[in-house]
């Protein structure tokens, strides 16, 4: 049971080659582009959703921050579609791999910090010390603030990984429990099955929410620094 439980999270291989790359590229097939003003239903729905997200997310920023809109919108689309595709049976979710989430979080966070240091150097360094602290506490607080700054990318990556992995794991466990209970005591099965259905709805919500949270935090760090 132990080996089987985590086997679904292992990176897929074809004869030892990493097959994760085609799976990561697969969501791009589902989002077509078009050069026309009036399109088919798929493209129209997607464009409408993207405009909704764009307006909701980028009104917060000034001109300098809005140059990041392409990056942030593609980020939220990528994470949302990858998480939602991972809810299909037997599929592999790349966002369960910590390596990939770190690869997304660290460059984006470093980009916001570098932008802040470059454009508003004094302000960024001043953020390391909250206002109105007593003088003896200053050295300790600067260390604490620096640590909290450096923990931001780790927190971004680990939050996404842990949430998605935990959700998938719970679904595996409760699904297995439903199957096992159907042989032991049939009246209990509908109850457990209802739990599974509710959990699936939760997972859909979590998939979208995690994408949103990731992108929102990156945009907050950006807002801080532009």
């Amino acid at each position: 049971m132990n080996e089987n439980l985590f086997a679904s999270f292992a990176a897929p291989t074809i004869l030892g080659l990493p097959a994760a790359v085609p799976i990561i590229l697969f969501p791009s097939l589902l989002i077509p582009t078009s050069k026309y003003l009036i399109n088919n239903r798929l493209i129209t729905t997607q464009q409408w959703l993207i405009q909704l997200t764009l307006k909701q997310m980028m009104t917060l920023h000034n001109t300098k921050g809005r140059t990041w809109s392409l990056m942030l919108i593609s980020l939220i689309i990528f994470i949302a579609t990858t998480n939602l595709l991972g809810l299909l049976p037997h599929s592999f979710t790349p966002t369960t791999q910590l390596s990939m989430n770190l690869a997304m979080a660290i460059p984006l966070w470093a980009g916001t910090v570098a932008t802040g240091l470059r454009l508003k150097t004094k302000n960024t360094l001043a953020h390391l010390l909250p206002q109105g602290t007593p003088t003896p506490l200053i050295p300790m607080l600067i260390i604490i603030e620096t640590i909290s700054l450096f923990i931001q990318p780790m927190a971004l990556a680990v939050r996404l990984t842990a949430n998605i992995t935990a959700g998938h794991l719970l679904m595996h466990l409760i699904g297995a429990a439903t199957l096992a209970l159907s042989t032991i005591s049939l009246p209990m099965t509908p109850i457990i099955f209802t739990i599974l259905a509710l959990l699936t709805i939760l997972e859909i919500a979590v998939a979208l929410i995690q994408a949103y949270v990731f992108t929102l935090l990156v945009s907050l760090y950006l807002h801080d620094n532009t």
């Binding site: 089987n4 086997a7 679904s8 897929p12 097959a19 697969f26 097939l29 589902l30 077509p32 088919n40 239903r41 798929l42 595709l85 299909l88 049976p89 037997h90 599929s91 592999f92």
Partner: protein
Amino acid sequence: MASVGECPATVSVKDKKLLEVKLGELPSWILMRDFSPSGIFGAFQRGYYRYYNKYINVKKGSISGITMVLACYVLFSYCFSYKHLKHERLRKYH
């Protein structure tokens, strides 16, 4: 390229579509296909646009255009994870 109404004897094997190739000509047809990287990429592109223009890029596309793709994705992932799944069958001996 051969035109539509031309006599079949004058159309070369290389330009025929798969369903028009006779069974005896099949090995030579397969060998004459373009297996270079750009040829394979072109084949994927042709396949993608064939599906896209038939099911999605229509005036009243339905949800079945995407659900067919997702069903194929599920089958594909099942094939990949069969190796792990075969140990979970309800058999006495695995």
